[in-house]
């Protein structure tokens, strides 16, 4: 049974992630008063990328993107998906935090090898932005881990399901609010879209990708969206007992992200980091202090 889920959960994540990509294009189109592409448009595009001729810039160029995607797949194995968690006992949230590094690191290495300054600029922005949202994010994660006194994600979810989700319990609600405030940054949506910025730095890190490489990057994007949203649902929205409810919760979170995405222009990276280190950090910090003081 466990083996089955080991195989299935990346596939489910891929399907959900691709559905989310298609859905978000559709929703954005409707907000723009357009029809938009069909829901399966990302699939068409990935298929097209894989049948095109790719241009490689060196061994690391391919290796980096493979590493990045593999890292994302492993993270998915560690994340509970509505009662299913394939690898629950191998290090918990700390491993997840670290495995989440592999995805940006792989892209950064492979984009750097491409020798295109657009890619380098994009990567430098990505890393700075990540430093920006990691501070409130770590505060949130630590508040949750301290409150439930465990580093295991499965335990965090089950503890929330026994009592109430973090959003509905007192000191943790602050962490939840802070998480909402940084969610667009973690998903790379506007106003924190400065990493890719197609009009400005030609999609940043992925400027030099073509053919199958671009296909893998698109899959990677789908998985990253899945990971970002499911982490949110698991950490502060109590996960779910079955995959279907979990999926519905993810949809709601995605919709929130999309509405923010549609309403805001792009921030410069300094503005973004300044925002992230101001309000979300402050709220998350207060949340952590309350958790520590009330918990004792």
């Amino acid at each position: 049974m466990r083996i089955l889920w080991l195989v299935l959960s990346p596939l489910i994540a891929l399907a959900v992630g691709l559905f989310f990509l298609g859905l978000s294009r559709r929703v954005m189109a409707r907000i723009h008063w357009r029809y938009g592409p069909p829901l399966y448009q990302p699939l068409i595009e990935i298929f097209r990328y894989f049948t095109q001729k790719g241009s490689s810039h060196g061994v690391l160029f391919g290796l980096g993107i493979v590493l990045s995607l593999a890292g994302s797949i492993v993270v998915i194995l560690f994340l509970p998906f509505g009662g299913i968690c394939s690898m629950s006992g191998s290090g918990g949230m700390l491993v997840v935090l670290y495995m989440m590094l592999l995805a940006p690191l792989g892209i950064a290495l492979s984009g750097g090898e491409a020798a295109n300054p657009n890619a380098s600029i994009g990567i430098s922005r990505k890393l700075m932005l990540a430093l920006g949202y990691e501070l409130p994010f770590l505060l949130i994660v630590l508040a949750i881990m301290t409150h439930y006194d465990t580093i295991s994600l499965v335990d965090i979810v089950s503890a929330q399901r026994e009592t109430a989700s973090a959003f509905a319990s007192f000191p943790l609600v602050l962490s939840g609010i802070a998480y909402l405030l940084i969610l667009p940054a973690m998903l790379g949506m506007r106003p924190f879209e400065v990493v890719h910025a197609p009009q400005e730095i030609s999609s940043g890190p992925i400027a030099e990708y073509s053919g199958p490489y671009l296909g893998l990057v698109t899959i990677q994007h789908a998985l990253t969206t899945f990971i970002g949203i499911s982490l949110f649902v698991n950490l502060v929205w109590g996960g779910a007992g079955n995959p279907f409810v979990f999926f519905l919760k993810m949809l709601v979170v995605l919709a929130f992200g999309l509405f923010v995405n549609a309403a805001f222009p792009r921030l410069r990276v300094e503005q973004a980091v300044r925002y992230l280190w101001r309000w979300p950090t402050l709220i998350a910090f207060v949340g952590l202090i309350l958790v520590v003081t009330l918990g004792r």
Binding site: R25, A29, H32, W33, R34, Y35, G36, P37, P38, Q41, I44, E45, F47, R48, T51, Q52, K53, G54, S55, N118, P198, Q199, S202, S203, I206, A207, E208, Y209, S210, G211, L214
Partner: protein, 185 residues
């Protein structure tokens, strides 16, 4: 639009995928730049048909050259075309790329774009309306279906000829030939 016919997807998935995800490099040389925004935004919504602007030629498979091509621009046009991954399709937009249009006797523009890079289809007019882009895209679908949008194959086959034409206008080119062997042969 045969996007929803499942049988076609099973028969020729590659062709279908290429047809319905035309990511375009809009090479707006001068005029024609104003026809593009209404096409891709809410007025005409090209994304319905899978046509979206691509950020770099590496992501694209449709090359739209709008308006006159000056000699200086030609260099960039050729570079961009060569950097696009195969299979790739080109569409000349407006009368100037076709035969020089109102710049037919200018000292600084080229008259026939398809002497330098292969063109799969033309949109005539000075300027064509944005709807014409959709007409061109539907024609391109038909051509892809019938294997007639083979500009990139022609480029490979007659690369020596194309390269000679390019060098005639631009002088010595600073980049090495794209296809080494064909040129010598």
């Amino acid at each position: 639009m045969d996007r929803n016919q499942l049988t076609k997807w099973f028969k020729a998935p590659t062709k279908m995928a290429h047809k319905y995800s035309l990511h375009a490099v809009y090479f707006c040389t001068g005029c024609g730049v104003i026809e593009i925004p209404p096409t891709i935004t809410a007025r005409w919504d090209a994304e319905r048909f899978g046509v979206i602007p691509a950020a770099t030629p590496r992501h694209a498979n449709l090359f739209l050259i709008t308006g006159y091509v000056s000699v200086k621009t030609l260099r960039a046009v050729i570079r961009t075309y060569e950097q696009m991954p195969e299979p790739k399709f080109t569409v000349g937009f407006g009368s100037c790329p076709i035969n020089g249009g109102m710049y037919w006797d200018s000292y600084n523009t080229i008259n026939q774009l398809d002497k330098y890079i292969p063109i799969d289809g033309w949109i005539a007019g000075c300027m064509p309306r944005p709807e014409a882009i959709f007409v061109a895209v539907t024609h391109l679908w038909t051509l892809i279906d019938k294997d007639m949008a083979d500009g990139y194959k022609r480029y490979r086959k007659h690369y020596a000829q194309y390269r000679a034409n390019q060098e005639q206008v631009l002088g010595e080119l600073e980049w090495p030939p794209l296809f080494q062997s064909e040129r010598e042969g």
